[in-house]
Each structure stands twice: as C-alpha cells, then as structure tokens.
Symmetry: C2
Subunit: 196 residues, 2 copies
DNA sequence: AGGATAACCAAGCAAGCGCTAGTGTAATAG
DNA sequence: CTATTACACTAGCGCTTGCTTGGTTATCCT
C-alpha cells in the first residue's frame, strides 16, 4: 500500500470519493461503491489508501489546503483598509466553499468520523485558516467598522457563511461575490447620506 | 407494533434516541445500542417503532413541534415593535435550540436520512416555523430597521443561529439570550448619540 | 375470574460491511 | 535480461447490521 503520496491518480480518486461522501454520507458510502465509481474492484482500493478513514482524511486535507491557499492569495491582493479585507475574506471563503464544494461539505459535516490522529493533524490546518479570520475581524473591530464581541462576531459570520452550502444554488441569479457583499453590508453600519 | 401513538413510554424512548443520535450519528447508532440505552433488548424496540427510520422521524417531529410552540408563545408575549419582535424570535430560536438541543442537532444534521414520506410530512412543520421568521424579517425590513435582500438576510441570520450548536457552550459565561442580543445588535445599524 | 392488550425476550436469519490474502500483469529500473 | 514496483484482480473471512419470529409475562378492563 502507498503511504501519504500525492500521485495524480490518488488525487483523482479523492475527488470522486468527496462527491460520493456528499451524496450518500460517509457512513453510507461503502468501499464497493467507491471502487465502482473509480472503475476498479473494491479490493484494489486498499492499494491507494490504507483504510476507509484515510480516504476521508485525504478529502478534508485537500479541501482545507485549498481554502488556506485561496484566502492567503485574496488577502495579499486586497487593499489594506479593513472593509476591503473583510470583503475579500468573505469572498474568498465563499469562492473556495463552492469551487471545492464537495470537500468542504465533507469537512463540515463528517469531521466527527475522523479518528483522533487525523483530527489532530487536520486541526492545525483548520486553525491556520481561522487565524486569518480572527486577524481580519480584529482589524475591523479596531477600526470601528463593526461592533461587538470579537469571538461572537467571528462565529456568527462564519456560521452564516458556512450555512450557505445548505441553501445556495450556484445556478441561481446570485454569484458567491454577491452573497459576500450582502453579508458584509449587513453587519457594517449603514452608510449615511454624507458618504454618498 | 404501534402506529403513531404518543405514549409517555414512546416519548421517553425518543428522548434517549435523540441523545444517542447526536453522540454517534444516526448511521453509527445501532438498534442494539438504542435498546441497551433504553434498558430493553433490541427486538423489543420494534414493538414501539416499526423501523429505525421511524425513530429518527419521531425525534425530529418532537423537536420541530416544540420549536413552533416556543416561537409562537414568544411572539405573542412580545411588544409589537419590529426590533422587539426580531429579538424575541432570535431568543426563542436559541432557547429551543438548547433546551431541545439533541432533537434539533438531529433535525439539522440527519435530515437526509429520512425517507421521502417522512420528509414530506415534516417539511410542513418546518415551513410553518420558517414562515414566522419570514414575517418578522419582513416587518423589520419595512420599518427600516435592517437592510438588504429579505431572502438573504433571513438565510444569513438562521445560518448564524443554527451554527451556534457547533460551538456554543452552555456552561460558559454567556446565556443564549446574550447571544441573541449580540446578533441582533450586529445586524441593526448602530444607535446614534441622539438615541442615548 | 377471564380475556384482551401492551411490553418484553431469546434466538437467529439474510444481507451487507470493511478488509485481507494471494495472484497476475504490464511497465520501469539496474 | 532480470528484479522491482505499481496496480489491479478473485475470492472470501469474520463480523455487524436491521429486522423477524414465536412465545412469555405483566397490566388493565369488565
């Protein structure tokens, strides 16, 4: 069996697994279903992954890794003012949420199925991502752009964003950027006439 | 087997099932685990419920029913102004979310495991609940209390509230009412000095 | 007392589960 | 040319799953 390689073959298998995990749920997805989707027999699966759990970990790792990459890139190319950074972060969050939708849905709703070892490993990645948010929120608070408790505000914002995977339809009239802008507009005090 | 009765025994079994479903997830909860928690043998379970799915449906029905009751009561005893109604609704949402926490976590995260028949039945209950929200949000928008798209605003608010089950610790310093107030404060424009 | 009914149990079936063992084969490296 | 490696296959083991069956006990109503 392979240990922790990142062959293109394995990446493709991970992508297919993510889709099935979202469709059926991790527990209801059998190794036989996974194998069929990949065009191989169930036994062959264990040449690429040591067990079913490792497939789950691979899916989540891939998604979180991409989220980090996209968010960092967005912050780098964003103007320095707090509102622009807040908007950039919200947009980046929704961008990764819907380009890697399958992986993120799995990360959000099947996290508990990871064994302790995988959880410990992946927590670091997730924490690094959340640190970006905390920084952006803090900056916005200090600038007086938004008000309230830093802990609660970040939780509420992330909750509102993450929950979009439950109702947002990419085929609809709104783009992810529209959503991000609307959310930011909702939480920063309305502009006065003097600003217009 | 019993059909659709609401005996006190069945209610107690439903409560225990909800707890296990939250702890382990619906799929990972076996009928043997359920039976043991209830102090009976696995076969006896099917005297009370026709199959495992019906237990899930019972859990969700109970939770949603309570949510409706609490929200209606809260709106009845609330002052008529839009801000008070918005706050009352947010408080009621969090109140039911944490007094019937198990049932609601199951409703939010195991909904997909229901068969089509149960989904159709329970959708009506859920829609009735959401209608209360839509009304409150609409009133707040018309009064100019909050701004934005009515659809998006209600989704964002419900998302932020529902996501609290993932991080809120009832043993911590904050009460659910604190959370509700903070969220409401976050989305309505800050009060001017002239209001103080 | 007697009859119905609700609640339970012991035993186990058929199906499906994750995973392993052993083998075959084509491509690659020394 | 030979040895290694990557990838796939067949076959099935050992176990767990949701659920059924047939029968027993406790409770209640008349």
């Amino acid at each position: 069996m392979n240990v922790m390689n990142a062959s293109p073959r394995r990446k493709e298998l991970t992508r297919l697994a993510a889709q099935l995990f979202v469709q059926e749920g991790f527990d209801k997805t059998t190794v036989r279903m996974l194998a069929q989707e990949m065009g191989i027999k169930s036994g062959s699966l264990f040449h690429h992954f040591k067990d079913k759990q490792e497939i789950l970990a691979a899916v989540i790792e891939e998604g979180t890794h991409n989220a980090l990459r996209i968010a960092r890139r967005a912050l780098e190319s964003s103007p320095a003012d707090p509102e622009a950074r807040l908007r950039a972060m919200a947009r980046a969050h929704l961008e990764t949420l819907f380009t890697d939708r399958n992986a993120h849905v799995v990360a959000l709703f099947e996290w508990r199925r990871l064994d302790d070892e995988a959880k410990a490993h992946l927590s670091h990645l997730r924490d690094a991502y959340e640190a970006l948010w905390v920084d952006v929120i803090d900056t916005a608070l200090e600038a007086g752009l938004i008000h309230g408790d830093r802990f609660l505000v970040s939780r509420f914002v992330l909750g509102a964003l993450n929950w979009t995977v439950r109702w947002y339809d990419p085929a609809g009239p709104r783009t992810p950027d529209d959503l991000a802008d609307e959310l930011v507009a909702m939480i920063i005090p309305v502009k006065r006439e003097s600003d217009l």
